[in-house]
Symmetry: C2
DNA sequence: TGCAACATGTAATGTGTTACATGATTCA
DNA sequence: TGAATCATGTAACACATTACATGTTGCA
């Protein structure tokens, strides 16, 4: 239901083609959602079938521009106010951190460094977007309008990225201290702590006996 | 590949059954991943097939406890150091914020309030987890061990939840000001700003003519 | 003895990604 | 004229959720 309603929501702002929507998902939703064209085109067909959108223009190269219908607007509003959002968040990148005790400290450090890099880049990108939105809106005209909520969503993104960038830098320091104190990964052997728990060697039935002195 | 390696990673800590793993995914990974039993059981079968885990104990009620093998440990390490994580994050809840201009201010406010509530609850939960971990670790024994990285991951969760809680409270204030200044949602009519863009009424072929005075 | 929690599995369905496939337009 | 970008679509596959299905153990 998310993609479907996201498409309706974007079309409420202005008529667009499948191609436009595809690009929008890459940039505009502040990284909160994404979709590829192979998902979008069939969805547009279904939405038109159901009368929630309508093709209102044709362009060059077979371009088809869709607009929201009254029914479509009712649908997306209904979704927004009457259905619970899925609030679960998933992050492979953060799940991995959980398992970094399994690798060498230098690898863990490198992993965190890349994580920091990633958040730094996102932050820059979102801050640029925020600057654009603030300029458009020229200070004095707060509106109950799309741009206003773009700004609010982008603000969430900015704070999110900044926080996780700071976290990554903090975590890097933790590892650095650890390494400086001369501790090593469990990887390297007996003197260190809590090695991974492995299955005992498999017991073979009737092991060939060997003569011993 | 994520689920598969997450299972291996958890088994590196200690042997577990499918049932144990299912509960672990709900609690332990600091909300960064989840999986239901219907995914886990078939995965365990596949992993055993491939020799990455091995059944090392049976319990009551058909309980089967699996342990990691050497090959399994190698596999999860390989995954951690040699493959790029999927860093995309998706959040239906934040995507929705993008579209809140389509609903009544009171509904938008309510939405944000629930969002705040959600983050508040998560924050409390993670802070409790952090307190447990800090106690266990009793101050003076920083280890290259699972608990250490649990703590670091939980720290990411805490900062994340705190940030988004603060954001939600900030956004609620934005809406409150807006409403106080007497502005209304586009919903209610002409005087307000930027109504959703709708398709023009469909042109019907040969509308029945009516006589007019 | 009856219910909650433990415990494992399969099947149907929905959602998302990658790969395949094709063609038009613009501009250097 | 040749390459980049615009533009739309389908098919195969991978991954996740929900529903279906069954049986045990411990305890109040």
């Amino acid at each position: 239901m998310s993609l479907r309603n996201a498409v309706l929501g974007l079309l409420a702002e202005r008529p667009m083609s499948g191609y436009d929507l595809t690009r929008h998902f890459d940039e505009s939703v502040a990284g909160a959602w994404s979709a590829s064209h192979s998902q979008i085109y069939p969805e547009l067909a279904r939405l038109q079938e159901e009368g929630l959108i309508r093709k209102t223009a044709d362009g060059p190269r077979g371009r088809k521009v869709y607009s929201l219908t009254e029914e479509g607007l009712a649908e997306v509003r209904q979704w927004l106010v009457a259905t619970e959002p899925d609030r679960n968040s998933r992050s492979e990148a953060y799940m991995r951190v959980f398992f970094l005790w399994l690798v060498e400290p230098t690898d863990a450090y490198e992993y965190l460094r890349r994580q920091a890099e990633f958040h730094e880049a996102n932050l820059a990108h979102l801050e640029a977007q925020a600057a654009d939105l603030d300029e458009e809106d020229s200070g004095e005209a707060p509106l109950w309008a799309p741009a206003r909520w773009s700004r609010i969503t982008v603000e969430a993104g900015i704070r999110h990225e900044r926080t996780l960038l700071e976290w990554a830098l903090w975590a890097m320091e933790e590892v650095r201290h650890e390494v400086a104190r001369g501790r090593r990964g469990a990887v390297r052997g007996a003197a260190t702590v809590e090695p991974p728990h492995l299955a005992p060697p498999e017991v073979r039935v009737r092991r060939p006996r060997r003569n011993r002195a």
